[in-house]
Each structure stands twice: as structure tokens, then as C-alpha cells.
Symmetry: C2
Subunit: 434 residues, 2 copies
């Protein structure tokens, strides 16, 4: 039986695990594919560097040549170039592609899907979102007979670990990030994670799949967790909630005011009730909660990152692409027929939890309530508590709203900040998952 | 574009929903398949009966003729015959098949997979296990590059609802079943659910997929929940556990004593620690927890039954099979290359929670401890408590063991029952998920 030639681009944490699993599970993989998988080379920047467990004769610096010698190209390098050009080269030579590169897909997905389609080969990317959790295939195939209404995901393990530490130990943001770095859950420069860039790329990919439309990475509204304080986490606890960084995609029907049908996609921290299945997702784990018309509520849970889990997901894709080489056929390509616009935050309906420091004198509550009413926002809960003693005494006012358009809520907060009676807006957080 | 002809066998709770979704989502499905799906007929026993929302001209009693007019046959009738013959007829005529029939697959899976392979058509069955939860496709495809070590599943919503009611309300088994029947979660004759037959069929299907081997339904060790008492549920709570009916499959390495490598598959109630993700699966929901070598711990959660969720899962399969008709290719068939034997319960390692009523006199504890030691079972926890007053006073003795072979544990319990000092063995339950 003719072997299927596999080229590996990248030999870092994930790549070296892919190479190991290809070797150690050789017989299993051959049985599942119907032909052996032969690793024909590994493209790295410095092939002369010693890599424990990796056959040095496989290493090459000539990625372009390697790509032309393969039936399946596995890309675990990351970034945009030279990867983007190499994958186009792979398609031109008729190779299928498996990638874990969320940023590339969020920014250049449509052009890559089109190239794969034109070459009649596969482009698989299970490992690009939520590491080892089977999520792309369920969305792209299992739910192909259903209509997804909404997804809520914890898709970044670093921020989930940080928020979890803040919740369970009372640590502040900076301390929790340091702990995450010490454990290898956060990078030395944690910007991509804590500012929500990583989650936003994944949200774009999930939304494109879930709603059969194109959602570019920059259409995702993004807020990170750098502003989340220990006081926010404590306030969440008092409300029976935890703070989670959520990636949320929703299908929005046409508005009564003539606003078009479309999708909203956003990444931001939010209060999630402890009774929601996502609230129990701890530490570096990921989970995505999906609401579909027929299926109802589904949840997918597992490790969101790590070399071995990610490599396992990559290999599942390699088996699928290699099976198609051996037995014919091709997996589903891009499905963007719905062509729904990505709508602005003004079309998002949500609830706000607002904490204010206000002057402790008569009439203040009325002034605050007026500001909400002026934007048509109705209030669900108010709690006022005196802070301090004597003439310096102020009050803390906590307001939880009913559901309202995000823009009305943010404009209300803007107005509150300008009220004389309001000394400080100490925290603003959305409440999701109810 | 030539339509793909779909034949529906059965028009009950699931079938009528399949027909509705085929109609209401016609355009979406056509876009995803690449050709329209045309429902060419619905085979029912009594076509003259009126069915709200179903076009009467589609109804026919001649299932055999209908099958011959279809490209994709959807079977939601259940049972063995005439379904088994009809599906063979479908394969002979080159139609792909989508079925939700767990019993048929557990009993006759290999022969049906072989017929599908010989005809070079698809046999898909996502809805046969855990209703709407994408589980078959993740196991059969996403984890194709990984090695599954174990799965623990709550795959029967009826029993989960009953046990959940017992846990949250303190109800006894009979009362909880009555409530489940009143809500439509249990059938008038609940035997298939409460005796574990339904879960055993699903366990056989999951084990066959997870371990790439054939596990016939009758190789599954099966114990139902009819013996679970309110006292068991209360004892679980005292131990920080809940009682769940679990479907468990494990890959077992060759034994030190020369026992062969293989798989163990079993269905029985067990204590599950409240900290385990499965413990939080409430009411009629299902969830399957999978441990794989590369991926680590995954969980899939969602509604385990219901007409609409099951119909959604069926339609996802219809889209996949129809796509293959239009674009070529075929999904993975049976993967049984590993050819691992199903091993007896003597190869299962587990822990027991045993509650005894014993005479309250010196030496009894020593006698009981001797019985465990005689079978090499080591004890983790013992709790003894006096029951009653005066000469009638007895004692309740609760023993939790360390991990030991199931046979040693059950033999110990057998011996205990014959001890003079033991008045009654009031409860025996395994402890799983730690």
C-alpha cells in the first residue's frame, strides 16, 4: 500500500509531539487510514539544532521544497508569513493541509479555503480552536442539519486560569498572571491572551462555522481582562457569579427598527452564574456552550492547549485528510452561503452590573435612576451601602440592569460618570449565561 | 441540480420532526449539501392515519418499495425486524443509511457495516447514542489520531432524571419513576431504561468506536437502578457523592498473571464524587467523559433524547451522507482492526462502598475485616454506628475499599452475607470517577 507522505512545518511544543505520535502510533494510524503515514520531513528555521526524540535526517530549512514532496502538509508554526505562502504552495501542488493557526484563519481564511477548493483538497483545522476539544468537526458536520442560535465559549486557557486564581485565592490580576507564568500557562508577554486577541481569532472562526458566514477577525468586538480587579471578582461572588472571559457569537434577527439580520461576535469578561455549566470550567480548561434550534444546549469541554492535546487534535485531522487521499472524497469546505453581516455592539442585548461610588446624600439614587431611565434601561437590582464615617462618608451603589442594547448601557455609564453625585464608576461588567 | 432523494422509515416523535426540519430548513440544507434534499416518502404501518403537519401524499405502507426509490434512507422506527431487512435492501440498491437504532447496531452492527462497505455507501448513526450530543463523529473522526483509555457516560436520560430526583428530593425509587412518567421522561413500561438495557446497547456502540474493536451488546456487564434506595442516595451524599447510572468502557492492558489485553464494558449505578464533571449532569441530560492519551480529559454534554434534538442529529448525518452522494467520497466505515476481546468483570478494577447491618458485640469488626483481607481487598474507610437501644441494639457498618478486582470485591460481599455476625448486607455500590 502506497504510503501517504506527511510534511511537518514547525517542530516546537506541538510539532515535536506530532512527530512522536506519528512514530509511536504508526500501526494504529495506518489501520485507520488504510495506508501508512510517512513523515517525509520537518521544516524548521535551524535544522542543525539538536531536538531530542526527533530524527535529524528529517529536518530541513527548505520548507518550500518539503511542501512539494507531501500529500498532507501539517502546519504548526503560527503567524502569517511565510506560512500563508507555503500553504498556497501546498494547495498548488495538490496537497491537503492541516493547520492549528487561528490567526492565519481569522485573517486569511476565505482565501485559503478558496485555494483548497480550487485544488480540490482538504483544509482541516480542529486544533486552531480549543486545542484538543472536538469542536470544529461537530460544528462543521454534526450540526450541519441544525441552526445555531448562539455560542458562549471559554476559549483561552491562560485567562481562564488567571480569573480562576483570582476567584479561588482572592489574588489581584498581576499576582494571578505571575502565577500563570510560573506554571507555564501564560507567556512572558501575555498580551495576546489577556487582551483577548487570541480569543477574538477563535471567536471569528467559530462564528464563521456556526453561522455559515464570513466573520473576519477584526469584526469581533474585543475587551481583555486587564481591567478586572479583585473587587470585581468579589462582587461577582456576592451575586452568585464568577468572572469569565467569554467568546460569544449570536445570530440576531432583523430589528423592529429595520436593522438587518446578522451576527454579533464579541470577546469580553462577564459575570456568569455559578449554576451555568461554563462556570465550573476551571484552570486551563476550555469549554464551548452551543445553543442550537433542534439540538438545544450542548457543551464541549477539555484541555484548551498543551503540546500533546493539540498534537492529538492535529493527528485526528491528518487521519481524515489522509483517508480522503486513499479512499477519495473531501471534507466540507468553507460554508459561507448565509452571508450574514457582522453587526455592531448596538445590536447586542445584554445586562450590565455597575458599581458606583456616590455621595451619601438625599436625591443621589433618584439622579442615578434617572440616568438609566433616560436611555430606556430598566433596573433589576439596586444595593446601596454606606462607606466610611462622618463627613467623608460616601456610599457604594451596585446596579444590575435588565437586558438592554449594549449601546444604551454603555451610554448610561458614560452619563453616570458625568453626574456630580457620582464620585467614581468603579466597575462595569456584563452579565451573561442566564 | 439533481435533488438527493430521502426516504424516511417511521413517523413517530423523531420521524415527524425529521420531516418538519427537512421542510423548514430546505434552503439551508440545500446550500450545505450542494443539492436540494427531496423527501420522497415516509413509510408507516398505518398510512391512513392523520398526522398533523405531515403531507399525507408522502405516507406509504410499502417500505420496501420506498427504500428502492431513495438515495438516503433514514430509519427512526427502532427494533430489529423489519428494519434490518429494509436496511440491507437499501444497501443492495446503493442507498446510504442514517439510523438512530442503537439496539440494531449493538446486535447486528458488524453485518450492517459490512453490507455498507460492500455497497460502498455510508452508514451513519449519530442519533443512536446520547441523542443530540455530537459523540459518534468525534469518536470516529476527531479522536482518530489518539488512543482512548476510558469513557464514563451518562447515556440514559430516564435513569438520570430518576436518580437526580432521588438525590434532590429524597424520593424513593418508585416515586421518582412515577414523576418521570408523569413528565414523559419515562415510558409506561420503564424496563429498558431502569434495567440498563438501553445504556448497555449504547455502551457497546461507544466501546466499539472508542477501542476500534467489536463489542457485541451481550458482552456488556449490565446492572440497572431498580435496587437503588433512598438510603443509598443518602449514603452517597454523606460521602460527597451522587449516584449515577454509568456506562463505562476501559482498555485493559495484559495482566501480570497472563490475562490478555482487551476491553471491559459495563453499565451499573455507581457513586460519583460531586467534584467530577459528570456529577453535575442533571435531569434528562446526557454526558460522556472521555480520557484519551493525547487529548486528556474531554466531556460532551447535551440533551440525551427528545424528538427535536434527535431529529437534529439525524439531519446532520443526512447532510454528510448526501454530501458524499453529490461530491463523492464516503465516511469512515467500521474500524475493528484492534480486535480486542471483551473481558469479564474479573478484569475490572473498582472500589466498593458496602453497608452492613451487624450484631453489636465485640469481635464483629475483626470478623468483617478478615473477610475483606481473605480476598486481598484493602479497606480505605470504616464507619460504625449503633442502631437502636437495649438488647435489640445492632450496628451499621460502612466500608469503603481501595481499588481491587471486581470479582474479589463481589466474592467478599458474598462471604460477608454468610457471616453469623452480619445480619444484612443493606447496600453494595461501586465508586467511580476519581
Amino acid at each position: 500500500m502506497e504510503p501517504v507522505r506527511v510534511a511537518l512545518l514547525g517542530c516546537g511544543v506541538v510539532g515535536s509531539e506530532v512527530a512522536r505520535l506519528l512514530r509511536e502510533q504508526h500501526d494504529d494510524l495506518a489501520a485507520r487510514v488504510g495506508a501508512p503515514l510517512e513523515l517525509v520531513g520537518i521544516a524548521v528555521r535551524r535544522p542543525e539544532r539538536e531536538r531530542p526524540g526527533v530524527d535529524p535526517s528529517l529536518l530541513t530549512a527548505d520548507a518550500e521544497d518539503l511542501v512539494r514532496r507531501a500529500d498532507v502538509v501539517v502546519e504548526v508554526v503560527g503567524g502569517i508569513e511565510p506560512v500563508r505562502s507555503l500553504l498556497h504552495e501546498a494547495f498548488r501542488h495538490g496537497a491537503g493541509v492541516v493547520t492549528a493557526n487561528k490567526m492565519l484563519l481569522a485573517e486569511h481564511g476565505p482565501e485559503l479555503f478558496e485555494a483548497a477548493r480550487a485544488a480540490d483538497v482538504d483544509l482541516y483545522y480542529e486544533a486552531a480552536v480549543a486545542g484538543a476539544i472536538p469542536l470544529i468537526r461537530p460544528l462543521r458536520e454534526s450540526l450541519a442539519g441544525d441552526r445555531v442560535r448562539r455560542f458562549l465559549g471559554i476559549v483561552n486557557g491562560t485567562t481562564n486560569y488567571v480569573l480562576d486564581q483570582m476567584d479561588t485565592t482572592g489574588a489581584g490580576f498581576a499576582d494571578a498572571v505571575e502565577r500563570a507564568q510560573a506554571l507555564g500557562y501564560a507567556e512572558a508577554d501575555p498580551t495576546a491572551d489577556v487582551e483577548g486577541y487570541d480569543a477574538a481569532s477563535k471567536a471569528a472562526i467559530l462564528a464563521s462555522l456556526a453561522f455559515h458566514t464570513r466573520v473576519p477577525g477584526d469584526a469581533v468586538h474585543r475587551e481583555g481582562i486587564t481591567g478586572v480587579t479583585a473587587a470585581d471578582v468579589a462582587a461577582a461572588a456576592r451575586l452568585g457569579c464568577v468572572v469569565k472571559l467569554l467568546a460569544i457569537g449570536e445570530r440576531v434577527p432583523a430589528g423592529a427598527d429595520g436593522g438587518p439580520e446578522g451576527v454579533t461576535v464579541r470577546v469580553h469578561p462577564a459575570f456568569v452564574p455559578r449554576s451555568h455549566p461554563l462556570a465550573g470550567v476551571r484552570g486551563p480548561f476550555n469549554a464551548v456552550f452551543v445553543e442550537a434550534e433542534a439540538a438545544g444546549e450542548l457543551m464541549f469541554y477539555g484541555p484548551g492547549a498543551g503540546g500533546t492535546p493539540t498534537a492529538g487534535a492535529v493527528l485526528g485531522d491528518v487521519v481524515a485528510v489522509a483517508r480522503h487521499r486513499v479512499h477519495g472524497g473531501r471534507g466540507p469546505g468553507e460554508s459561507a452561503y448565509a452571508d450574514l453581516p457582522a453587526l455592531p455592539m448596538s445590536r447586542v442585548l445584554t445586562r450590565y452590573h455597575v458599581r458606583l461610588e456616590v455621595a451619601d446624600r438625599p436625591g443621589v439614587l433618584a439622579r442615578v435612576a434617572d440616568a438609566f431611565a433616560a436611555h430606556g434601561v430598566s433596573i433589576e437590582q439596586v444595593r446601596q451601602q454606606a462607606v466610611g464615617e462622618g463627613p467623608d462618608r460616601t456610599a457604594e451603589l451596585v446596579v444590575v440592569t435588565h437586558v438592554a442594547p449594549d449601546t444604551s448601557l454603555s451610554e448610561t455609564v458614560e452619563d453616570l460618570a458625568h453626574l456630580d453625585a457620582v464620585l467614581d464608576v468603579t466597575s462595569v461588567m456584563r452579565v451573561e449565561g442566564e
